[in-house]
Symmetry: C2
Subunit: 377 residues, 2 copies
Amino acid sequence: MTRRIVCTYHVTADADTIEARAKGIAVEQSVEMPLAAITDQRVMDEIVGKVQDIAELAPGLYAVTIGLATETVGDDAGQLINMIYGNTSIQPDTVLADAAFPPEILETFGGPRQGIAGLRARVNAPDRALTCSALKPQGLPVPGLADLAYRFALGGLDFIKDDHGLANQHYAPYVERVPAVAAAVRKAREETGGQTRYIPSLTGGLDQLREQARIARDEGLDCLMIQPMICGFPAMQTLVRENPDMAFFTHPTMTGAARIDPRFLHGTLFRLLGGDAVVYTNHGGRFAFTREVCMELGQRATRSWNGLKPALPVPAGGMTLDRVPEMIECYGRDVMLLIGGGLLLAKENLVEETRTFQDHVAALSAAAPASVAAVAE
Amino acid sequence: MTRRIVCTYHVTADADTIEARAKGIAVEQSVEMPLAAITDQRVMDEIVGKVQDIAELAPGLYAVTIGLATETVGDDAGQLINMIYGNTSIQPDTVLADAAFPPEILETFGGPRQGIAGLRARVNAPDRALTCSALKPQGLPVPGLADLAYRFALGGLDFIKDDHGLANQHYAPYVERVPAVAAAVRKAREETGGQTRYIPSLTGGLDQLREQARIARDEGLDCLMIQPMICGFPAMQTLVRENPDMAFFTHPTMTGAARIDPRFLHGTLFRLLGGDAVVYTNHGGRFAFTREVCMELGQRATRSWNGLKPALPVPAGGMTLDRVPEMIECYGRDVMLLIGGGLLLAKENLVEETRTFQDHVAALSAAAPASVAAVAE
């Protein structure tokens, strides 16, 4: 009996073409050739994708469920996305809506190594919503970024991440930026007794990613941010394997819109690959996801799933302090609220504004439900 | 004077919102924070993206031209795509239509190392259209794949590529597949005096990509295929740099549709990053690009561009022998015709069918224009 990954594609088609279209996707995502040209019976039986169901969602829109042989994936995260969407991503009538993975895939990729509990332990906050902000703008020299981090940490923030635009530019190279920011955060922690964590953004090829992870480790850091769609799934997989004690934040840059369902991409796939905290663009900010999509994304990230640890939802993208009550009502306590520019607008009052943010989140958490799953039920 | 990459986005918007939307993209792709929160004048002047032009293309559709500071990119191919599309890819009202790069970007990434001339030299075909087919289906054990390659080579084919689904699966692991196929092709070449080249598909993380490139080199191979959207741009950049004598084929899997203009992605960006031959889905096959888009893609790949070598267009995706005259008429002689399943349907007559394909292409090339650029003028 062939083990299969069961993928669901949403396909725009007419009633009289959907069956052929579904078979076309099953072939495209497996053998990618005319079945009439296949002479090997095992390939026909065990490798060719199988259409399992076609359901009409709306006039002209179908949910097509296809079983793809697990053995075509092996143990490479790149080959995983190649098999479940790959060439079909080039066809504009398709959306990758979801996939259900057999246990061997879950074992191979392993999911979050720290999970929500590991993130909470890092900042000694067992039961409230967590907070985060970002170091920006890019172009600021290292002392300016370190000063920002110092003030965020003085204000008691839980997590401080690099802006995803901070790479290895000449005006703030990683090798100077990360030690300086880490030292600034340590200094503030010593002064306040707080637990603020700094999350550097890793960029470049695997050699550089490894070197940057090493530098972070040498600085005593225990959180890293990566950009799965830019560094590539295989690089993410390697980093997660090689740094089992690090908490990984995934950044959504280059995730696109509308072609891979964000609930699946962030809530399921990035979690499967080891994302402990998944940053995504919240509803009502600069981006277009609906509230329903965002809540379902959060449910996916935190739901019980064959023993895989839960990943923490990190809604972001143009969030402001006045959104805090609504966000905690929406997501409950298992959330990290990421407010970047909205905090930086406070300028010389950044420490106080950060403290206000932090206190507000803590106070509202007391009466909040445990998680977005609880909210939605 | 700040050096800038000039990006063109196609944006769906109303006439009264497009100006704000354009500014929003300029901020999103640079500092990603409210300008009012920026205190550093150099950042305001030199790092913040600048809207250079807004042109109405059609009612509700605008071409927005934005200058992004080159210094935000540095020398990392991942950061290049992060800066020119990154977060804006998550906004469904945008398409990355094009980008013009200043000379330092062209120098940093360098373009094709072999170019069309290097591909022609490999198969001793200075002036005709080239041919290619693919080893499939996945699931076939190594001897079956090697036998296919042997017969393609006996038929005189120029290039044989791995199907992009062939990774490192247990039924045909790279370390067994590539030496066996390379040996089969060598054997056929010795028998026919031909020049057929085998192009293995590299997959996995950078460690595995490097090891696979080394194995290919040890087998005397001089062409490699990579999947830029899956291995990641930084890994592609590293491989191209470390293997300056190899010809690189780019495979379009996971390139998506409609969010990054395929003319720019394959014809410009993959060429910039060192693709010598760019495989893409031709019009009239299983995919949706129009003839006009495909021809412009080919023009982009082959046009004169600040001394960068031209990349060879490789239209593919459901092509058949009866399309050969029309494809050569469309693309001229600077093209590689890739027919996979359409040839494999010949089964036991594969050698003869391959020879027919090869002879047909050679014969039609004699009267064909030099390239798709010449066709279109």
